[in-house]
Subunit: 234 residues, 2 copies
């Protein structure tokens, strides 16, 4: 049985999830890049996995790098959009940072492929990916701003005095703690399934706040953060 549509002949039936050939190509490329690496994946291999001609890929993407840029960008688009709203939100910083970390972890854990692992491909750090790099940098700046503001809030009740260097380093960490979600998912996929993306995201968001000196019960912050996300998503 063929699922090909008129005007776009396919060699074989549809093999990958996705409503368009572009989506199918991205899905196949994600799996192959994650399991075989970027250098180890040819466009011919991607085409075979989709069940299309190699030349069809170049109809949608001019290079293999563009496919990776596209996939990387997908991991930051939704969090960057949320961050933009959060930067203007009147809620206190701890709630906004919590919402940011929770949402970001959740989307990384819930995506079809562990796309976050593509950050770590040698090619991702070596090559410039204009769309991805710009959004990731923006996201990192938002994390930093919200982390600094959160620290500033918690410093009023924290008995410890932090030096400027301590604050500087602590403000850089929540952005990277989110990447623990990627690492746990690639290390122990069974663990993520057992715990669930929601609870794991909660654990990482809790840790981000505590690392900035926010102590005590986090229940009110958790509730307020979910509320903020719901309002922004509506």
């Amino acid at each position: 049985m063929s699922t090909s549509r008129p005007g776009r002949p396919r060699r074989v039936e549809r093999r990958r999830p996705g409503d368009t050939p572009e989506e199918e190509i991205l899905d196949a490329a994600a799996e192959l890049f994650i399991t075989r690496g970027f250098a180890g994946t040819s466009t011919r291999l991607i085409a075979t996995a989709v069940g299309i001609q190699q030349s069809t890929i170049y109809h949608y993407f001019s290079t293999k790098e563009e496919i990776l840029d596209n996939l990387l960008t997908r991991t930051v688009v939704a969090p960057a959009r949320l961050a933009e709203s959060l930067m203007r939100d009147p809620e206190r910083a701890a709630v906004r940072l919590y919402a940011m970390v929770w949402f970001d972890c959740r989307q990384l854990l819930a995506a079809q492929w562990n796309l976050g692992a593509l950050f770590n491909l040698p090619e991702s750090t070596r090559t410039k990916f204009p769309r991805f790099d710009e959004r990731r940098e923006y996201l990192r700046d938002c994390y930093r701003a919200l982390s600094l503001a959160t620290r500033s809030e918690s410093s009023t009740s924290d008995s410890a005095q932090w030096s400027a260097t301590e604050v500087d380093i602590a403000a850089a960490l929540p952005f990277h703690f989110v990447e623990a979600a990627i690492q746990i998912r690639s290390d122990s996929p069974g663990r993520v399934e057992r715990i669930g993306a929601d609870d794991l995201a909660t654990g990482i968001a809790d840790a981000a706040l505590r690392a900035l000196g926010h102590s005590g019960d986090l229940t009110p912050v958790r509730k307020a953060a979910r509320q903020v996300i719901r309002q922004i998503e509506d």
Copy 2:
């Protein structure tokens, strides 16, 4: 000028740091794997970078995978050795976990190449590396045990009640927070140089303890942790 020694002819002068050809091969391979990926690096390329014949590599390593196993193993040998001593140490858990995180971050930040980034090569998660996998798993178990014990200690002064799931997730995080050191180093090498490996390691160790509900001044823990490391190293 040739630096070759009698009995081991070299095509060109010594190009890489290392006292033995084995060390030079590992140094060149580390750089190439990190910058070009594993699939993108041939043993011929490694040989060229060292200035030796390709066949010489097979005198020391039977496969390219064995070279990567060797490099990966180097990132966990010293921390695993420290962990073994710490598991038997009578100090309280917070100090031992702190020592563990601090020491591990420091060695990852101070190594010639950002070898930790090799964890994240697709090949590292796909392939079995017997030596590395065994030590890393041991290290992860030690992190977990020390994290659980640290949480247990801090729960006596923490006003918040943690559920079993919260404790379970929090205990998994310090092991992954250490990987933030790798990420920061590959994202912003200049930042690591400016802050210094010691202070960055301190910031991450602070965060690991706070994430487990340890609040207040960490100065005594920091001092005790350095003392423990010094005693073990002596």
